[in-house]
């Protein structure tokens, strides 16, 4: 749709802030019910913006960012739904804006790609973070955090402005791009999902010794069992922590008792018993 330079700048700024807010800061500004009215105000149809926000919020309730899962991006979804609804002059009702929600999906998917890409690149920057820590460089640590926020903000700002200006035609080419390169995008998705194993391996290096392998396997199996039972899979880690705590407490009590007894036994021997 046709927008002025000032509108473009405002969209960039809003998308920049929301791109950051979806993971840090208040984690509520980016929610569709809030973002919708803001986009409506910028694009000149406040009422429609409010309704789009409400409609997309209901879509969003079904796909929450739970347990590190990344559903299609709500920010790009809301921004583009508002843009389509306003440029097509849709009716301000839940059913009326349904068409715009559908058209916005390719952009929401690309918003998700932007997130995946950022999280992958930032995995590489952790080596730099280690280096900063070794030098007690607190400014460096802050800088790494600013870097990711800037990357996310700029990616979302550019995507949003390009999306609103390019509209349906751009949506089509984005869609066919992601269709053609689906194996590459799935590859990034699969690799991203596996990178946490590096973090786990580093933790294992700290705590692991020969006698600890059994506990690792016990925790692994316990989590598998909990996750397999419908209705309690959400509490998996809490339940595992309780079982783990029982084992750890038992070990602690046994060992402190052995230590105390060892002391009194030694005393017993010197007494000649």
């Amino acid at each position: 749709m046709e927008i002025s330079v000032i509108q473009a700048i405002m969209i960039f700024v809003v998308a920049f802030i929301m791109g950051i807010d979806q993971f840090s800061f208040l984690e509520s500004l980016y929610q569709p019910v809030v973002l919708g009215p803001i986009m409506g105000a910028i694009l000149g149809n406040f009422e429609l913006g409010v309704v789009v926000g409400g409609a997309y919020q209901l879509v969003q309730i079904g796909s929450m960012p739970i347990g590190g899962a990344q559903p299609p991006n709500a920010i790009m979804g809301t921004i583009m739904t508002a843009a389509f609804a306003i440029s097509m002059g849709l009716e301000p009702t839940a059913d009326g804006v349904g068409l715009a929600v559908g058209l916005a999906i390719p952009f929401a998917v690309f918003g998700q790609y932007a997130v995946t890409l950022t999280f992958t690149i930032m995995s590489g920057l952790m080596a730099k973070a280690d280096k900063c820590a070794e030098e007690a460089d607190t400014k460096g640590i802050a800088m790494i955090n600013y870097t990711e926020m800037a990357i996310l903000g700029i990616l979302f700002g550019v995507l949003a402005v390009a999306g609103v200006m390019g509209a349906a035609a751009l949506g089509d080419s984005l869609r066919s791009f992601s269709f053609q390169w689906s194996w590459l995008m799935a590859g990034l998705d699969a690799a991203g999902g596996a990178m946490k194993f590096v973090g786990f391996a580093i933790l294992m290096k700290v705590m692991m010794s020969g006698e600890m392998w059994g506990f690792l396997l016990a925790g692994f199996v316990m989590a598998n069992i909990c996750a397999a039972v419908p209705g309690m899979s959400g509490a998996t880690l809490l339940m595992c922590a309780m079982v783990g705590l029982a084992i750890a407490l038992y070990d602690y009590q046994m060992n402190t008792r052995i230590k105390e007894n060892a002391g009194s036994n030694a005393g017993g021997f010197t007494d000649g018993i």
């Binding site: 800061f25 347990g67 391996a201």
Partner: protein, 334 residues
């Protein structure tokens, strides 16, 4: 890793208790827990940034600050709104100069379970209820009140919880830690057991890597065969493999690159499951998540459409019923 994190701090005299101002500053900083979120360590770097004000006060010895910063970059994933609980506990341990291995074990054990609790509290309870009500306000009355109420309620709850957990857990930690120092060696061992048990649970809980390959006719999904041997076997094997590599002296960044290459090469050949979220002209997703570059097996067609449509309908109806029970009226989509 060139730098070896020492097992003990050099300066072992407990630091003075952190004042309220510093704790409150860290409550604010905790909002940026995920500022440098990434797939390898997740919230680690944002976590370190958040507790730096406290660490700088506690570790006046520069070498100790280095050690503390280095070990606070371990993998961490917890719920962003409940993180101040972990912060308070870890800071109380840091203040009492407990062994680094103990702090690391306690941190991962405290952080893990909070993820599920927080998801249940916020994303499955607070947001659906407040979001559902305010979305209806917006839809039916086209009122900005919806957005305002959402922001006020959500942030009031969020900050009350952040503030309370920080102060409560810090005081709890400092009062409990004295009891531990008399049996420090036994405590470290027990903490390591809990820590390693938690890591095992994390592997199964967050490990999502699986195989896409289907063989023979009628198609047999290889992943379901593996699940019959042991669910989440692949995440376990990958983690153990990486552990062996890191023990051999591989740097984390080298491991990351290896995973990236294997991940993309794997999906080019259609080995791993992965979701490209791509859609065709009609808005339908790709069968099997993506189209491999080299297709050497036939991915089985999805279940008949009527059945999946009915399942989707039932699932939607379930959500609507649940919302209705909580007093939110939502129309079923046509």
């Amino acid at each position: 890793m060139a730098y070896n994190i020492p097992e003990r701090y050099q300066d072992l005299t407990p630091a003075p208790k952190l004042d309220k101002k510093t704790l409150n500053k860290m409550v604010w900083m905790s909002c940026f827990l995920q500022a440098s979120f990434n797939y390898e360590r997740m919230q680690a770097c944002g976590w370190l940034w958040g507790i730096l004000p406290g660490l700088k006060k506690i570790h006046t010895n520069k070498e100790d600050l280095k050690a503390s910063m280095a070990h606070n970059l371990d993998f961490l994933n917890t719920h962003p709104f409940l993180v101040t609980f972990v912060m308070g506990i870890v800071l109380s341990l840091e203040q009492n100069k407990v062994d680094t291995a103990t702090i690391r074990s306690v941190r991962i054990s405290a952080a893990g379970p909070l993820g599920g609790i927080g998801d249940a509290l916020f994303w499955l309870t607070l947001v659906p209820i407040v979001g559902g009500i305010t979305a209806n306000l917006a839809l039916e009355q086209a009122s900005i009140l919806g957005a305002v109420i959402f922001l006020v309620v959500f942030n009031a709850v969020q900050f009350a919880i952040r503030y309370f957990l920080m102060h409560w857990s810090y005081n709890l930690g400092t009062s409990a830690v004295g009891m531990l120092t008399s049996n420090a060696k036994e405590f470290t061992r027990a903490a390591s057991i809990l820590g390693i048990f938690t890591v095992g649970a994390l592997i199964a809980n967050y490990g999502s890597t699986s195989l896409r390959i289907a063989i023979a006719d009628p198609a047999i999904n290889v992943q379901s065969l593996l699940d019959g041997i042991m669910p989440k076997l692949i995440p376990l094997l990958i983690t153990c493999g990486l552990y062996a590599l890191i023990k051999k002296g591989w740097t984390p960044i080298k491991c990351i690159v290896l995973i990236l290459v294997c991940g993309i090469a794997g999906t080019a050949l259609g080995i791993w499951t992965g979701n490209s979220q791509a859609i065709d002209e009609n808005g339908a997703g790709i069968n099997g998540g993506y189209n491999p570059l080299i297709q050497w097996y036939e991915y089985p067609a999805p279940a008949p459409a009527e059945k999946t449509g009915q399942q989707a309908w039932d699932a939607t109806q379930g959500v609507v019923d649940q919302l209705a029970e909580e007093g939110i009226n939502v129309e079923m989509p046509e």
